[in-house]
């Protein structure tokens, strides 16, 4: 009888830690800040009575241990590759961690909810491509382009995101993918410009590179450094700076190529 009790107790503790880790995984993967990941995991553990938990969260990994004299030893490391952010999942896990305390959910319910959150459908590719086009057009206008320029930027933004979804994210590294993106946008805009579609080449390109701008790692990197999570913050900022640089290289390479091919014609 006694042994049985101990066994169930053990199972529960590691189950709680596993669940907390799953929640942390979803948060980290989808663009949450480091302190939110740590806080949520800790909250889940405390609620289910595990007090010996220890988490160390980096921008691409979670290290978790549990166990002291009374609670069973638990250790797990998870590598979490950087992916495109899905803030709806961050919102959902945040809501769940609030409800764990308010509604006194059981561990099974929490696990079921986490699985649901993992399966939440995202925006369709078509919507994302359209959004990229609209965003490009709007930002082109914002930076001083005419309506015609914005229309060209809209088209370039559409094609860019088809490239991002179909070529760059699944097949290319971040460096090559973003150089390619910058170059592709520049090529499309030069073509439009030469065909008389759009009047200010510069504004057209500026508008259409905006979907490549690494807003999530940039903002989160700053927040992490402000919270004192220097390693993760530095890695995220480095990620952002690298992407910025690659976009600039892509644009520069395409301009240079164009000038070579047209015998030094200025744009």
């Amino acid at each position: 009888m006694k042994t049985d009790e101990i066994v169930t107790g053990m199972a529960d503790e590691s189950m709680v830690l596993e669940t907390a880790m799953e929640a942390g995984h979803i948060l980290l993967e989808n663009g949450a800040e480091i302190f939110r990941v740590e806080e949520t995991m800790d909250r889940i553990c405390r609620h289910f009575g595990v007090k010996s938990d220890n988490f160390f969260v980096l921008s691409n990994g979670i290290f978790a241990t549990g166990g002291d004299g009374k609670e069973r030893t638990f250790a797990k490391v998870q590598h979490i590759p950087v992916r495109a952010a899905r803030l709806d999942r961050v919102v959902a896990v945040n809501q769940l961690s609030r409800e764990v305390e308010e509604k006194n959910l059981t561990i099974g319910e929490v696990q079921a909810r986490l699985r649901q959150i993992q399966d939440m459908p995202g925006k369709s590719e078509l919507m994302q491509i359209l959004a990229s086009g609209v965003g490009s057009g709007c930002f082109c206008y914002l930076f001083g382009g005419s309506l015609m320029d914005s229309a060209a930027a809209f088209a370039a933004g559409l094609i860019l995101y088809v490239y991002v979804l179909r070529v760059s994210s699944p097949h290319l590294s971040k460096i090559v993918g973003n150089i390619g993106g910058g170059a592709l946008v520049t090529l499309i805009c030069i073509l439009c410009y030469r065909l008389g579609f759009g009047e200010h080449l510069n504004h057209m390109i500026i508008g259409s590179i905006i979907p490549l701008v690494p807003g999530v790692p940039f903002t989160n990197g700053i927040r992490d450094i402000a919270d004192g999570d220097y390693i993760s913050g530095a890695v995220r900022l480095l990620d952002a700076i690298l992407v910025f640089l690659c976009i600039a290289i892509g644009v520069g390479v395409m301009f240079t190529l164009y000038r070579r091919l047209t015998g030094g014609a200025m744009l």
Partner: protein
Amino acid sequence: MNAAGEVAAAAVGTVAFSLIFGVPKKFYPYCGLIGGAGWLVYALLYDSGICTAAEATFLATVLVVILSRFFAVREKCPVTVFLISGIFPLVPGAGIYWTAYYLVTDQLALSLATGFDAVKAAVAIVLAIVIVFELPYRFFRLAKRRRP
């Protein structure tokens, strides 16, 4: 010149990018409002010549972060949701382009100057975010919805 058009473009552009980042639909109006307000402050301060680009970026980002924290408390959701897309119009995307453009057209001095301006704007954003997050939570509690 046509401030209303620009603010509308900033708002719509911000919503477009929040869609790409997977922000839930019910938060789109907030994202648009934040993006538009940030650009309005930036354009007013910079175009009128009161501020340099970096100063205008700083003050606009301060507003963006305050609004983001306010709505985050009101809607009980992570501040990231509003902040990331709201800050987009202020990120020096144009600066990156000009730096690369002047670099490949052999105008090194201009390239350095624009590159430096882009870095200054980025630092202004960093400072604004860090400073506004130091404000104590109680300032934003006013935003909490009273329970019926």
